[in-house]
């Protein structure tokens, strides 16, 4: 199902022409309205004439989270407060909050973008949607709310927290769609079971729209099984607009990016050059239609890959894979980018591997070495050396295939990997640079 079919199925050549045209206008618009961009563009000698083709976007400098902080709170806004109708911001736990703002037109755009991902996931005006995202400064709650209202669904604005009440509301009001983080969806299922309910029968849920945190395919399966729903991923970030930047269609095979509003690039975060098509790298987004807060080449720090092959749903837009990590936790081993989440995925797919592992990076001479410590258990221990070696070789081979580098897997005794409350310490980097 589509929300704006003409736009969503636009011919790619036409789409590219539109992007170039909008980018040129946007450069001029930002230059005239945001002193920060005027200065930047002057430094780099950028005018709208610099853009002749879509590749010319690479001439533009990047924008980072630090630029938002340096211009706190309203330095990046292109419209006066008179025209601003909404302000959202991050929690600011890692420094000054990131502030974003919207004009009336921006809110309309946002509601249409979210309507697209809701339709793509199969939500209709017949649905009753429970939104268990926090309503507040965080863009998740309001973003999904207005988008779903836009398509005519009945919304239960439950907001976050109070899981028992969430379950009661879902059951009594007959919610058919659940909006929250994937981990909260699993938690809801667990609590419902503890309350003696069968979430598959007692709840009428059929669709889940989950986002705001990374999740794996295994987690999707688990959620779909425990709630008997189809679980769809969506992607967004407040610096760009909030949720609605990209979302999965019913194929569940990558998230369609609304390219008539955004230009997506994937770069090598080190060299800042584009990666080869289909390779993982950092997602960089440029807005094309934002009024209050135009952003050029924003470094999302999310690691994903782009798939331009046509999707059988009919949408012509590029699809981004589930982000596999953040540039912040990326390791560079012998020049190859490695994400702890890739290692975790390989380990968890091997029968019997315990969830306790640690990645140790060291340097011997000029060569980086990676050792993956895995806690042994009865499933991984064989009395025969031959079988023991076979298992270790299997793990080694699969890691090599996935990562493209040699790693050394070591079985260690149970409980020998340090436990920590909260976030586990997965990586020990002993290299000295």
């Amino acid at each position: 199902m589509f929300w704006e079919k003409d736009r969503e199925t636009m011919d790619r050549k036409e789409l590219e022409n539109l992007q170039v045209e909008l980018l040129r206008e946007n450069i001029e618009y930002a230059y005239n309205n945001v002193p920060f961009y005027r200065k930047r563009f002057d430094e780099y000698g950028i005018t709208k004439e610099s853009i002749r083709s879509i590749e010319d976007i690479r001439k533009l400098p990047f924008t980072t989270k630090n630029d938002f902080r340096d211009n706190y709170p309203f330095g990046l806004l292109a419209r006066p407060m008179k025209e601003i109708v909404r302000i959202h911001s991050s929690s600011g736990t890692t420094g000054k909050p990131t502030v974003v703002a919207y004009t009336k037109k921006d809110l309309k755009t946002w509601a249409d973008l979210v309507a697209r991902i809701a339709k793509a996931a199969g939500v209709t005006d017949e649905d009753v949607v429970q939104i268990a995202f926090g309503y507040g400064l965080f863009t998740g709650g309001f973003g999904l709310h207005y988008g779903l209202e836009n398509i005519g669904a009945a919304i239960i604005p439950a907001s976050s927290g109070n899981t028992k009440r969430q379950i009661m509301l879902m059951e009594d009001y007959g919610a058919t769609v659940l909006v929250c983080t994937p981990s909260y969806a699993l938690y809801i299922a667990e609590v419902a079971e503890k309350l003696g309910k069968d979430p598959k029968k007692d709840l009428k849920l059929r669709i889940g729209m989950f986002g705001a945190e990374p999740w794996s395919e295994q987690m999707r399966k688990k959620i779909e099984e425990s709630l008997d729903i189809k679980a769809y991923d969506n992607y967004g970030l407040s610096e760009i607009i909030g949720p609605g930047v990209a979302g999965e269609c019913e194929m569940q095979n990558g998230m369609h990016i609304s390219e008539d509003h955004f230009i997506a690039e994937v770069i090598n975060p080190e060299t800042e050059e584009p990666v080869k098509p289909g390779e993982y790298g950092e997602l960089v987004i440029t807005t094309l239609t934002k009024e209050a807060l135009p952003v050029f080449r924003y470094r999302t720090r999310d690691i994903t890959k782009l798939d331009y092959t046509p999707c059988s749903c009919g949408r012509t837009s590029v699809r981004m894979s589930k982000p596999i990590g953040r540039t912040d936790d990326m390791l560079i081993i012998r020049g190859v980018n490695v994400f702890p989440s890739q290692i975790e995925e390989v380990l968890f797919n091997i029968e019997g591997v315990s969830p306790h592992y640690q990645i140790v990076v060291d340097r011997k001479g000029a060569l980086d070495t990676v050792t993956v410590l895995v806690e042994a258990n009865a499933n991984l221990f064989f009395d025969e050396m031959k079988k023991q070696k076979q298992l270790l070789d299997k793990i080694n081979d699969e890691l090599k295939t996935t990562l493209g580098i040699d790693v050394d897997v070591k079985l260690v005794e149970p409980n020998s990997i340090e436990r920590s409350e909260g976030k586990a310490k997965r990586i020990i980097d002993k290299r000295k640079f």
């Binding site: 221990f381 025969e384 149970p414």
Partner: protein, 148 residues
């Protein structure tokens, strides 16, 4: 004839190649009042597999499990051979002729006169017991390790 009596329970323990690990294992057995009859260590750079034949296998297994070791129990065969030049070669020739596949083997120090005892892990233990008995090999039964 009950061939199962020739299956000697063996305890295998996973140990990391780290100082004190070997000692810890034997300490647990000592505290459990278990006597080690035979022992072997297969080691690699990173880890080792410690194998024991003991007088009280169940007790040893439980004590090690309680102390969070990774333990497996499995069966081996004990064969007595002449303690003289060529004794082992003769047995190995028999095994080879019988087409039996040895996973690993180790020796057992004992007080039998003029006899040496070898412990074998075969790919197929039932087949090995049957064929070896037929070939006239002297197999020791489980009780032997409890008696001494």
């Amino acid at each position: 004839m009950d061939l199962n009596k020739y299956k000697i329970p063996q305890i295998s323990v996973f140990i990391e190649n780290k100082k004190g690990r070997f000692y810890n294992t034997t300490r647990v057995l000592k505290e459990a009042g278990v006597n080690i009859r035979a022992m072997s260590l297969a080691d690699t750079m990173d880890f080792g597999i410690l194998r024991f034949v003991v007088d009280k296998p169940e007790k040893a297994y439980e004590a090690l499990m309680d102390n969070h070791f990774i333990v497996k129990m499995n069966d081996v065969i004990a064969v007595a051979i002449k303690d003289e030049c060529g004794g082992l070669a003769e047995l190995l020739k028999t095994i080879s002729d019988l087409d039996l596949n040895i996973e690993y083997m180790y020796t057992f120090v004992n007080n039998m006169d003029n006899k040496a005892v070898m412990l074998f892990k075969f790919e197929d233990i039932d087949e090995a017991i049957e064929k070896l008995l037929k070939a006239g090999a002297e197999l020791l039964d489980e009780d032997y390790f409890k008696r001494i």
